[in-house]
Symmetry: C2
Subunit: 648 residues, 2 copies
């Protein structure tokens, strides 16, 4: 049953017209994509040069020079092209497409006769290629190249880039493998696995699926390839003297035997996404079960309430069960995005809202927190508790920034945000021939072929600030299909009506599924109560004991110093106090803020002369507290912030 999976909707058939999301998409289109193009071409005055395009020009022998930048610098242009592709789908732009075509032409010019394409080795010496798969990212670049080429093919129908990607994929297929004469290696940084399955869906070339499956099955087999590679090529492994060794690469043992998410969080969820793709495509139940175990470990042991993952800076990695520090946290934006990739694939196999619920959690919190509201700066790390003084003075929080940064030496997050947001409509709906799934609630319209007819669904909503979602069906012929609406896990009371008539359908894996003949003008209304909800963490999460988080709908809230003063850890919420909800149109592009009567620890009697004294009992002062959506923090300058608040 694994292969009966849903499929994404072609982005060209989705028009998002949503107060919340359209703003982000337009920011990406009008600001982030042009800015990144300048960055790739070293035209940002204050930023370190990227050298990305220059490396391609050198590799294509169009100019003299040496390789510069990170070993995986090529991937930046691929991510940019992928974002461009998605953007072109919903906003055609001749000039942008021309720039993209020229860039693809440059990339193609750098490709070697056997298909190889990694500028680092093309410039530095092809004799060393594939000698450090562990750390040198040739296969990571392959993955991003393929993802971009696939997206660009869907967006434009042009196959130049696709053919480049096929060429490199085939080159890798010819060089890597367990067969005699091949290198039995696999990617140090995963992503090619899922990308190759996407490629296979277009090419139907078995080699592409086989290569993806090989990467997954070979990973972690004894003797460990990375160890052998180190010995053979005299490479060193940075992680060998730490608790985390080959686990950093998810290569400590075969993936089918893994049951805890471990190591570099982005790599991990990219791998798991690839595993889900291969499991589905090859009907591999065992592999799917490994995915389920790993998923379960993440969401029941290692995920922040914001949907962020990766608790430690050491290796940008998962740490261990229930270890979720809020202040020294890593929670990389890319990792939350990767979790969305994984969630989407697991949903496509299972049609279970367990996955799409997490997708929504990560998207509205841990992902969009990564970008400023003006699209000009980005968080790599998304802390749940920040003290600017600690960020400055505590060496072990130097990765935690109290304000978003313009660009990064390792610029993975901004382009990742860009490609996700510019394809966000594709996460809202999934379909097969007989069903539509509405996973996320965003205004706009989507056109789908169902029951042999064109059906257009018009969605109106003010989500996430309001829980009402109105879907109107437009078709020329009545069509029989099922329309499934996700009833979010956070939602306790909801009501679904069709043409005003209440639907009493039982939920199927979290979805209200309405299977019927749909006529033009039929109107589905989902009405979700969206009260403020106080959330507690499992008491095995040490850092959250005695504390609560505040949510409303899918939105996690936080306290900022700007509204609540310094020393936020001194603040307590009080049980039973009502929250006052207010939509503030002028704040952060429009958000619902919350105010509530709370308390602050009294500093009475503390005159600065002492650190310790005989306990005088819990003493508090009243304080009116204001909470804002977590994703919108750090848009008003530098200050403290906290998601988890003590409960009196």
């Amino acid at each position: 049953m694994l292969n009966k999976k849903l499929r994404p909707v072609n982005l060209g058939k989705i028009q998002i017209e949503d107060r919340f999301w359209k703003e982000y998409m337009e920011l990406v289109r009008t600001h982030v994509i042009p800015y990144q193009w300048d960055a790739l071409n070293d035209r940002i005055p204050d930023a370190e040069p990227s050298y990305c395009i220059q490396n391609f020009r050198v590799a294509a022998k169009r100019e003299e020079g040496k390789f510069q930048g990170m070993v995986f610098q090529d991937s930046d242009v691929y991510k940019w092209l992928e974002a461009v592709a998605y953007s072109l789908m919903w906003h055609p732009d001749e000039a942008l497409e021309k720039t993209a075509d020229e860039t693809i032409e440059l990339i193609a010019a750098a490709q070697q006769p056997d298909g190889y394409l990694d500028t680092y080795y093309i410039i530095n010496g092809l004799d060393r290629r594939f000698t450090n798969l562990m750390d040198h990212h040739e296969l990571y670049c392959l993955g991003h190249m393929v993802e971009a080429a696939v997206a660009y093919y869907y967006a434009t129908g042009k196959d130049v880039f696709l053919n480049v990607a096929v060429g490199y994929a085939n080159c890798v297929y010819n060089c890597l493998g367990t067969e005699e004469g091949k290198i039995p290696g696999y990617p140090g940084h995963e992503v090619a696995e899922m990308a190759l399955v996407s490629l296979y869906k277009i090419t139907k070339d078995e080699r592409h699926l086989k290569l993806a499956k090989y990467f997954i099955d070979q990973r972690g087999q004894a003797p460990l390839f990375f160890d052998e590679e180190c010995k053979k090529n005299n490479n060193t492994c940075y992680w060998d003297d730490t608790y985390m060794r080959k686990q950093y690469y998810q290569a400590g043992k075969p993936v089918r035997e893994q049951d805890k998410a471990e190591g570099h969080a982005v790599r991990a969820v990219y791998l798991y996404s690839g595993m889900a793709e291969v499991a589905s495509e090859t009907e591999d139940q065992e592999l799917f079960e490994a995915c389920e175990r790993l998923w379960s470990n993440i969401v029941t042991r290692q995920m922040y309430v914001t949907g962020s993952i990766g608790a430690t800076e050491h290796g940008e990695a998962f740490s261990f069960d229930y270890d979720l520090p809020n202040d020294t946290v890593y929670a990389e934006t890319c990792a939350a995005i990767g979790l969305i990739f994984f969630a989407r694939r697991m949903f496509e196999i299972t049609k279970d809202s367990r996955y799409t619920d997490v997708m929504e959690r990560a998207l509205y919190n841990g992902v969009i927190s990564g970008m400023s509201l003006d699209g000009k700066s980005f968080f790599y790390v998304n802390p749940l508790e920040v003290s600017p003084e600690h960020c400055e003075k505590d060496y072990f929080r130097r990765h935690v920034k109290p304000e978003r940064q313009k660009w990064f030496g390792c610029a993975c997050c901004p382009p990742n945000v860009a490609r996700l947001l510019s394809s966000i409509g594709g996460y809202a709906f999934e379909c097969d021939d007989a069903s539509v799934y509405m996973n996320l609630f965003m205004g706009g319209q989507v056109e789908l072929e169902l029951d042999g007819n064109k059906n257009i669904f018009h969605v109106e909503t003010n989500y996430p600030w309001n829980g009402k979602v109105v879907v109107t069906v437009e078709n020329e012929q009545p069509s029989f299909f099922s329309f499934a609406v996700r009833i979010p896990g956070w939602c306790v009371n909801s009501c679904v009506t069709v043409n005003g008539e209440k639907q009493l359908c039982e939920l199927e894996k979290g979805y209200a599924v309405m299977k019927r003949e749909w006529k033009n003008g039929d109107q589905i209304i989902l009405d979700m109560e969206m009260p403020v909800t106080i959330v507690e963490a499992n008491p095995l999460v040490r850092e959250d004991i005695g504390k609560v988080a505040v949510m409303r709908g899918p939105i996690v809230y936080c306290l900022e110093e700007q509204d609540n003063g310094t020393s936020l850890p001194q603040i307590y919420l009080e049980e039973g106090q009502p929250f006052n909800e207010k939509y503030e149109g002028d704040l952060f592009n429009g958000v619902v803020t919350l105010t509530v009567k709370g308390k602050r620890v009294s500093d009475e009697g503390w005159n600065g002369d002492a650190l310790y004294r005989t306990y005088r009992g819990k003493k508090f002062m009243d304080q009116e507290l204001k909470l804002i959506p977590y994703y919108s923090w750090a848009n008003r300058g530098i200050g403290e912030m906290t998601v988890w608040v003590r409960m009196k």
Copy 2:
């Protein structure tokens, strides 16, 4: 008035016969000193070799070889000799003294004609000596050599070692200074400052005091010597890319302008101790005021409730005001010892119990926690909260060990504990010609010359488990002097009687001062109520908000997993619950333990399937809690521990 200071009592005149302390002293004498001798001679099977004695043999040309071990390896034998000296004072031991004499003879044989003595440069090339004062510890070794030589001179009257030390001190005096042709440097790791003042007190050679004062005054002057040294000799400074730069060495600015304790904590308090010595010896009020500011910053902003200091592993350093994490803490045993050195000197100048109170706090908690009850293993880091799983798996807590270690590559703490404990009696009493100060309460006797007569004070007590201290005066002639008893800051109700008569003396800077003629058989009884006290931290200490610590007398208590189960952060104390105190003679060599009714967060409804849920209100289970003295933790195997406990 600064020079009117009290003086330590000759250890030869103190006999400690105390249930609590004699055990430690005997452990040091019978176990630690012999073990360390074996370590210095590379005879411990499982431990890394020290190479210390071997380096001296090579330097003395008694064998061939290269320098091995840390650049400051010489200091280990000096610390050992200092501990030996103290031990010989209260327990003569011919064989041990012979070994010490032979060792001193070896050290002397390594000394160069101009007095220079650092085996690293003697072996590696004297042309490079004094070219890296910042990091190469030649002056640190001088300091420990002098301290040991002074102690050995007091213990035995022999001057061989003293002359070696004088020779090296004079060599340094001749080479370092602001005069033309000298190197304007000072120690990277302080300790020589206070040592040279001790030497001066014996030699009365102005050069020794001048050198100490020069080290202090030159420190941090612009242009920074360490910067100049780096440039000139092509050295690199490890700290230049961190928030902490020359501050690591307390050399960011002149010491008189410093008002925050900063950088490497041991170095800092060693420096401050030296500053206090020089301020007193040279009547330097300005320098003394700098000491007071730095003291005040430590005890009101940067000291753990255990008297430990140094909040961060990064540089083994002070961090910043109110930053006192309990779990990632450094709190090096040596730093707490150094704080005692500083406290003692400040007390000697001021006769103020503000200092001796801190001395007691550090001694009974942060210092003796550093050694196991069998004297066989040691903590370098003294955490206030430990989870063994975090120690193993959290890279940023890898310095925090859940069990004491046998020996360390950098073996500074064990010999430091040894020299402190074997001279502990000297911290109990201080005197001048007309007064005795009883600072610490330990059984035994001390003989002092007062009012021209020999007076012997017999002390009986079961401190710290019981607050009654009985002092009986023995003299042949009635003698007029003042007897001052510290009334500890933790003590709310106390009573002092002389021959049964209640003394209503006003406290003078925390001391009950009884000035009178004392006759043979006079008996002073100090009776301190010693109830369990709950302590809270200043609410600016984020990590302790909502939590309390439990003390009884000077002893800080903790919860251990062995008594209270895992997940200690789930435990709450409840206001108003009475503590049951019990002396357990068989536990940890005899301690008072505390039991109390407490609570544990209920795990009801948490079945492992979720990390987060809608808040259900605070739910608790009853739990009988047991607390043990903090210093005795980790003597029953590995487990969790916490000092700060949530208060319901």
